[in-house]
Amino acid sequence: MSLLKEELQRNMNKPEADKASLKKAAWVRKDLLGLQELSREELELILSTAESFKEVISREIKKVPTLRGKTVVNLFYEPSTRTRTSFEVAAKRLSADVINISTDSSSVRKGETLIDTGKNIEALKVDIIVVRHNYSGAAAMLARNVHASVINAGDGWHEHPTQALLDIFTLKEKLGRIEGLNVSIVGDIAHSRVARSNIWGLTKLGANVTVCAPPLLIPVSIEEMGVKVTSDVEEALKDADAVNVLRMQFERDTENAFPRQLEYFKNYGITVDRLKHAKKNILVMHPGPINRGIEISSEVADGANSVILEQVTNGIAVRMAALFLVAQAHDQLRSKARTRGAKKI
């Protein structure tokens, strides 16, 4: 019970300005499209909400009635097991109904556009659409055209907000803070929406971010996002509190852009030998699925520094928070609109 006391103590000791900002932190967005547009307060609200949901999923009955009667559609234009399953589990833990649509078995095959598909899904009285698409900006376009809430589960090379949020949540849970941490992201930065969302989120929360990749896989002007850039993996690991290892995305048809797989492993792979020169407790993260022996060795992936499987668990808590917050904001916007309408009459 000392937990409550500590918490109260912390709140009492906070400067008034902090308390005010905590109170003000409200979620008013019907959609979650990316971390670029979010304020630090909004990021912190999602993370603290996710903390509460982590408690829920550790209960024996891992379910709360919060989104009872709501329907979530997972609309995936790219193959995904991990993210789709994670969203499905998260929605079910909140008592929502879930429908999965993957495009290889739907009318998209017959030429239906994203907006038409979205409007048809909405006509089925769906409340939240979780969308993954291979075009950057697809989630935002869908959000503008439907009344339902939209959560971006990855759009092209642009953003993958819930993945970055679960990475940041894991960091915070393990290291107690984000402010001042040195976080290195190693891998195909150019084609990675995970990298971009992580950079937005981490820098807003005060972490020092270094990106590391072969020169051809570092986008031009990435420094403008407030990160350090290097092509030397040992330098990237040297002072890092955590390293986020990205998957080499061979399916994205970029095989000509970087050296062959074995050469990549030799020059950039995260191995036990390389970690010897890093901080002893460095956290090793990976958004999955892992390519063992390409970007990370098996010993590291399964080793004591790895939090890769905890990331998967935390993903459920973070996605529950995202679903809850957009649903809540959506309901409030609707009820406000209703009262305004009533007053006019």
């Binding site: 019970m1 905590l22 409200a26 709360v64 009635p65 809540q328 904001a329 309901d331």
Partner: protein, 182 residues
């Protein structure tokens, strides 16, 4: 909303006396602290639960375990309340199966908070029974719910609100009735 203090119901000493009496009543009715657990509803109910448990320890020599309930996820009014509640953690670190649960809140009003709290508790297990202890009962119930232990009954009008202020959360121990002047 312009609120004006209408009357002061309890000061520090009054609060201590009331809570001490409630602790005695709970122990008397349950014949001691055996199998007793205390669960408080965030935020002020949790503080009161902690205080009641400490008082029971003074009387009976054993402090029952105390848990904290955050009922936000079980509310029935997420869309209609003006201010978004922030979701906090529920912390029940003990088994409630076959335990005597004393549910504690500061003010009993419509009964909807208690409805949500009951739903949440049974998701943690099947207690032997649940009893309700509230510092104040201000009436205006919207559900068939009543308290087993009441610190004080205060008849109020719907224009009034009752504010419980506690040292741990507000820096002062007092209960006041506020009136809406509009």
């Amino acid at each position: 909303m312009l609120m004006k203090e209408k009357s002061r119901i309890m000061d520090k000493n009054g609060l201590v006396r009331t809570l001490t009496r409630m602790a005695h009543e709970i122990l008397e009715k349950n014949k001691g602290t055996e199998d007793l657990v205390i669960v408080g509803v965030r935020t002020r109910g949790a503080v009161l639960a902690e205080r009641l448990a400490a008082l029971m320890e003074d009387i009976d020599g054993y402090k029952p375990p105390v848990g904290v309930l955050d009922i936000t996820l079980y509310r029935d009014d997420l869309s209609s309340i003006a201010q978004q509640p922030v979701v906090h953690k529920t912390e029940i670190d003990f088994d409630i199966q076959d335990k005597k649960v004393i549910l504690v809140d500061d003010v009993l009003y419509t009964g909807r908070t208690i409805r949500a709290a009951l739903d949440e508790i049974v998701d943690f297990g099947r207690p032997l029974f649940i009893q309700l202890a509230v510092l104040l009962d201000r009436g205006h119930r919207e559900l068939p719910i009543r308290a087993d232990y009441v610190g004080k009954n205060i008849p109020t009008s719907l224009k009034e609100t009752v504010e419980v202020r506690l040292q741990e959360t507000d820096g002062v121990d007092e209960v006041v009735v506020m009136e809406n002047m509009e």
